[in-house]
Structure formats: structure tokens, C-alpha cells
């Protein structure tokens, strides 16, 4: 099998169909090898670009590994307190109703510390888009159990695996939010496979379009790999995601847009 040279664009007639990184990304991220979060950042930024929202978007970013994205996202952004992004987004959207407002939060941020914020914002029908990066652990602090950790998973605070008796059950936040009045769009994607990435991107696009149409609260939960916090190798990430997380958190549109 011949190795193809890949150090410069081909000289034969061709069309570029994928770019290194979206124009809105200002630099490299510093996340672990095989982390799923940068993939979501990419599709999010691509979506903002594609929807023409570049100069009227305000992002609110929580605390987790993705927190460092505030340095490389070329949109106006508030780095807020752990868990509070939906409340901050509320203040922002109410004062700037013409902007597209989104939050970027992890499972620790949204489903642990800020569970109340997201549910209340959803019930309040705030017209904002929340994006949840669910890797089932606190990645940033080294892999402790969050409320979304699946049963049986070992973390630094569930040493023999999460046990329902001792540690309780995972909370399927998207399913809960999907059932509230006041909600415009809820979906759950995953970035373990190329198809999953593409579908996730469509979900994020739907959520923003729903916001632009004023349909109410939007949530896109994205299952992301955290090999570091899962104590698996990077290549094992997607399989682990499919075999453990997707079983607890089935993918799909949990609340499609009313118009669609």
C-alpha cells in the first residue's frame, strides 16, 4: 500500500471539503489527546459562521476543561461562575434580545453545580441555547463522579464503580428538560463517530435556528470522550462512549422543533 504525500494540497484539480479549523477559532486548545470537547467547539463555531451569527453572538462558558475555550473562541464571551451560565445567559438575552446567546457547560457544571439554573431557565422559556458537554466526569479536576456518571463506572470518588445504593443514579437531564413547557428544542448527540459529529452539528444548528425563531429554551447534550477521566486510552474512548454512555443516554431529538 502506497503512502500518499499529505504535506501540501494536491496539485490535481480538487475541491477542499474540510478545513483545518473554523475561522472563528483563534488558536490551539490544550485539551488531552482524544478529548471530545474540541470537536464540539469546532462544530459550534462552524454553525455560528454558517448561520451568519458571527457579529451578534454572545457565549457564556462554565467551568470545566472546555473553560479554556474562551481564549480561542472569536465571539464575545463571558466566562461565568461554575454552574451559573443559564442565569447569566438570561440576563444577557433579556438585555440583548437580538443576539444569539449560548452557554457551553459540562455535566459537572450543568447537572451537578448548576442543575437548578438550567431547569429554571428552561421552565422560564428563556430563549437561549445551552450546550452540554457530557463526559460523565469532572474532567478538569481529574475524574471524579458527576451526577451523569453511568452506573458501574470507576471514578476517583466511586472507586469500585458507581453503585446505585451508595452513589445514586445518573440524571438524564435532556430527557427532563425535554418534558418541560417552555422548551423549544432538545436533542442528544455524541462525537465518538463521524456520523455522530455530523448529526450533532445539525442538532446545534437546529437549536440556534429555534432560538432565532423565538421558540424558547434549547438544549443540546453532546456525549464526549474523556479518556483521561475514564482511565482508558484515547483510542478506546469512542467505544467506551458507545458501550457505556449511549446505553444510559440514548441519542436523538428528544424534543424536535415545533415547526419541523
Amino acid at each position: 500500500m502506497d503512502i500518499v504525500s499529505t504535506d501540501r494540497p494536491p496539485e490535481t484539480a480538487s475541491r477542499k471539503v474540510a478545513e483545518f479549523r473554523p475561522p472563528l477559532q483563534l488558536g490551539e486548545h490544550s485539551l488531552c489527546p482524544g478529548c471530545g470537547e474540541p470537536v464540539v467547539l469546532r462544530v459550534l463555531l462552524e454553525t455560528l459562521q454558517e448561520l451568519g451569527l458571527v457579529d451578534r453572538t454572545i457565549g457564556v462558558v462554565g467551568h470545566g476543561c472546555y473553560g479554556s475555550f474562551v481564549r480561542i473562541m472569536d465571539v464575545d464571551v463571558l466566562q461565568c461562575l461554575h454552574g451559573r451560565a443559564p442565569a447569566c445567559a438570561t440576563g444577557i438575552k433579556r438585555m440583548r434580545p437580538d443576539t444569539a446567546v449560548f452557554t457551553l457547560q459540562g455535566d459537572g457544571d450543568m447537572v451537578n453545580e448548576g442543575l437548578q439554573e438550567v431547569i429554571h431557565a428552561a421552565a422560564r422559556a428563556e430563549n437561549v441555547t445551552c450546550i452540554l458537554l457530557n463526559n460523565g466526569v469532572f474532567g478538569d479536576t481529574g475524574g471524579q463522579q458527576t451526577t451523569t456518571t453511568v452506573l458501574g463506572q470507576r471514578t476517583k470518588t466511586s472507586l469500585d464503580g458507581r453503585e446505585a445504593d451508595q452513589h445514586g443514579y445518573p440524571i438524564p437531564i435532556a430527557d427532563i428538560v425535554a418534558q418541560l413547557d417552555g422548551v423549544g428544542y432538545v436533542a442528544r448527540g455524541a462525537v465518538g463517530t463521524a456520523g455522530g459529529v455530523a448529526r450533532t452539528k445539525r442538532m446545534i444548528r437546529n437549536a440556534f435556528e429555534s432560538q432565532l425563531a423565538g421558540e424558547g429554551f434549547g438544549l443540546v447534550e453532546v456525549l464526549t470522550m474523556c479518556p483521561t477521566g475514564w482511565f482508558v486510552t484515547a483510542p478506546q474512548g469512542p467505544d467506551y462512549l458507545a458501550e457505556s454512555m449511549e446505553q444510559t443516554y440514548p441519542l436523538g431529538e428528544l424534543r424536535p422543533r415545533r415547526s419541523s
Binding site: 500500500m1 484539480a13 489527546p33
Partner: protein
């Protein structure tokens, strides 16, 4: 491996060796290098048969790939 309908530019210095692209490639035309980049990671090399499907670029967390699709299949 059939003929290539597409090809890549691989920015090997950005690669962190996670191998997500390897399993993502439908025709299985990516493999990890023996060499390491200056950060010490192995990176993907492309063999003939790329379809330009962009799967590798979609899954790569580190924006290592540019994908090109040939106007005429080579």
C-alpha cells in the same frame, strides 16, 4: 484499496496521537506513523484509497486534517 477520490493535508505537528481518525476512516486508509512529531506523538499517514469523505476531519479533536475531493477520480 481502490483508487483515491480524495486526499488530505495532514498537519502532523498538531496531532496528539489519539487515533480517533484511524478507526473513523471508512475505507481504512489511515494508519499511525512509526515516527513521532516534535511533541512526541505518533500521527496518521494516508494510504491510497481515500474517498474524501471527511470522516477523519470530523472526528479529529485537533484539527489536523484538510480534506480535498478530486474533480475527477484519479
Amino acid at each position: 484499496m481502490g483508487a483515491s477520490r480524495g486526499t488530505l493535508v495532514i498537519d502532523t505537528e498538531r496531532c496528539k496521537g489519539c487515533e480517533l481518525c484511524i478507526t473513523a476512516c471508512p475505507p481504512n486508509v489511515l494508519a499511525m506513523s512509526e515516527q513521532v512529531n516534535t511533541t512526541g506523538y505518533r500521527y496518521p499517514v494516508l494510504h491510497e484509497g481515500c474517498t474524501g469523505c471527511t470522516a477523519c476531519a470530523l472526528v479529529c479533536p485537533d484539527a489536523v486534517f484538510e480534506v480535498y475531493r478530486f474533480e475527477n477520480e484519479r
